[in-house]
């Protein structure tokens, strides 16, 4: 039994089963997404709007009257069949751009989305450049002077 668990055959089979399990699980997750109810939509929209009188809570999390009023407004618009973006824009028109917890993609605020992507690209480019450089240089070998240094260090510890 033990030797079977360590055999190459078992391992190959294992990887096949593992991949199959992962694929089945991911497909099943993708196929039956739960239907979103209107309440889910209200909550998800409300969680992207800042409560205008709180320090840093969203409309969904806050209990103050202003937040409750916005929640009612969102629910009314969801009931009327407006899209998420339409509703967000309408609320932002009433209460100011500052209530959007997620900055919009355009304009100066768009930088907050773009800069991290730029940073990742730069980091990856730098890394691949480093690997390319390492590949070109051959590993350094110790010189006589290096050996003498090590001998000396070992003697005088």
């Amino acid at each position: 039994m033990r030797s079977f668990l360590r055999s190459t055959r078992f391992r190959r089979g294992s990887w096949l089963v593992i991949v199959a399990l992962v694929v089945v699980a991911l497909v099943r997750n993708g196929v039956d997404e739960r239907p979103t109810t209107n309440e889910d939509r209200v909550r998800s929209i409300a969680s992207t709007m800042k409560c205008p009188v709180c320090r840093s809570q969203s409309v969904a999390d806050s209990d103050v009257a202003a937040a409750r009023a916005i929640r009612v407004e969102i629910a009314r618009r969801v009931g009327a069949g407006e899209s998420d973006d339409q509703i967000r824009d309408a609320i932002a028109d009433t209460y100011g751009e500052g209530v959007q917890l997620t900055p919009r993609a355009g304009g100066l605020a768009g930088l907050v989305w773009i800069l991290p992507v730029v940073a990742v690209v730069v980091a990856l480019a730098a890394l691949s450049a480093a690997f390319a450089r390492w590949r070109r240089t051959s590993p350094t070998s110790a010189t006589e002077a290096d050996r003498a240094l090590v001998d000396d260090a070992l003697q005088h510890r």
């Binding site: 593992i18 399990l21 992962v22 900055p103 605020a109």
Partner: protein, 665 residues
Amino acid sequence: MNSVLGTSGVVLGVTASLLGVVTLAVGLRRGRADLLRTGWSYSLLVLLGAIVSVVAMQRALITRDFSVAFVHDHGSSRTPPLFNVATMWSALEGSILLWALILAGFTVHIARKFRQRLSDPLVGWALLTMLVVCAFFFLLMLGPANPFTSVTVPAGYDGPGPNPLLQEHILMAVHPPMLYLGYVGFTVPFAFAVAALATGRLGEGWLIETRRATLMAWGFLTIGIILGAWWSYEVLGWGGYWGWDPVENASLLPWITGTAYLHSVMVQERRGMLRVWNLSLLCATFSLTILGTFLTRSGVLESVHAFSDSDIGAWLLTFFGLTVAVTLGLIGWRGDRLRSPGRIDSPLSREGAFLANNVLFAGFAFVVLLGTVFPLLAEVVQDRPVTVGPPYFDRMTIPIGIALLFLMAVAPVLPWRKASSELLSQRLVWPAWGGALTLFAVVTIGARGLAPILAFGLAGFAGGAALRQVALATRRQGWRGLVGRTNGGMIVHLGVVIVAVAIAASGSYVTESEARYAPGETRVVGGHEITYLGTREVQERNRLATKVSVRVDGGKVYEPSLSQYPGFGSLIGTPSVKTGLQEDVFLSISRLPQQEGGEVTLRVIIEPLALWLWIGGGVMAFGTVLAAWPGKRRRPTDPTSAPVAEEDPEPPAAEPRRPEPVGVR
């Protein structure tokens, strides 16, 4: 009296640290060992100053000496004793005092630890750096954050007490000291980094000297952050524990760079590479603690214009700028000695994985920093306010978190230099089983959503990899397979896995309801029976609390409340939580009954696995202790490949024999 005592403590602290800086600088410049050895006395004097000030402050708080401005503004005769002690760190001036005390403590610790080597320039420079930081914090207390300003008070005056939110839970007494131990602890490796740069001794020696200090600082910071999240869960009634608030981000930023450093330092110890990077990470960690204090204490985030109201902002920003400029200058100056001849052979290796880890952590820190300061920058450039809130942070950090979980699964099994696919397949097969079965199981029991199920699956994978390491190590070494950096690190990884699962579950599968309850009415929320029993008013020493009794699942009665603190306008809500291993039932009051026997509006939130966040945090802390556990460690300078001589059956008593390396010459 208390004012005078406290101020004299601060003056002693300032004088001792400044004199210490000058003496050590002269000693270093002239190479005078006698001057360098005075570092010990100076650090003791600084600590003495800090202790005198803290005693004076506590005495003022306990005796309600309202002639001290800090007590006048934040103390009260109604505050219960424990919170009265904690009042010291409930506001700016007192928390700077706590910072100074901890910093002085660390300085003495370092001076004591290296008392045999005080004349060594490396230690001299490190102590000098720590004393400079001490001097800065003591000067803050003479200047813009003076805790001992005296005021004249009318007879019969009573103060308002600390912010009510801070009087609600015992965690507030513990969380700030833990956080500060972490923040301030990072001063130690920073000081040694500066010392290494200044002396030019950039070998790996200083890393090894500060290894345990760094680990402990990181551990305290971890505990501090987790306790902060716990406090916010138990006290702020919105059912969450992390809101990407600037205060929270300020504690997370040094944690991220510190974590990156703990990993990449291993590449330097092993391969002598990434020297500039590691120095930069340490300096970044220290600077971020200062920047975080600036962001949260200067009021700059409420509005750019609030910045000019207090001087402390300018002080902190200047110190931050100086730190960055000095360290960058030092690194540039030593650039030629920092280059290393090594190379990384393959991305598929331990060092390659550490590199990937560092790219991810650096990206993580960048996103959090950008999101925190962006509203500020936008307000400076344009006049319209821009809000960067939780949805932004969630969207940016969840992919990073998932990638880190994947790396946590693969990296521990990777060998140094280069891995073959055969080796990977062999070592990863059991962890992969763990991951695949977890993923399959959670989907089968009905979990949906790509991010959370990926988090569960990868948590299974990473947990499997960590358990595999622990199992192999304990089989080889017995209980010693649990201690030491690598093995303890795996326990920390297990803690991280638990935390990740808890975050994914409690963040994604919340059931929430807000409804009105008549007395005696029962509603079912997420499978739990919630019964409203009644409302009563309780006059406590420091507040008037209205408590709402709610029976959960026909069992114990829970009492969320709304309290009125004298001197504070709005009502403070306190939630009540039924904690369980599977899920928490979180109760808070939205609206009290308008008349006797009326309906109450209750908010009920069912949060799965929330308890595991705190458990995971505990496991991380425990793992950190194991990782720092002193063991029979090989001297890092000993050659690993050379065989050592046999132990003599009767070793001579006089001098312990050093094993003679053979086969090197």
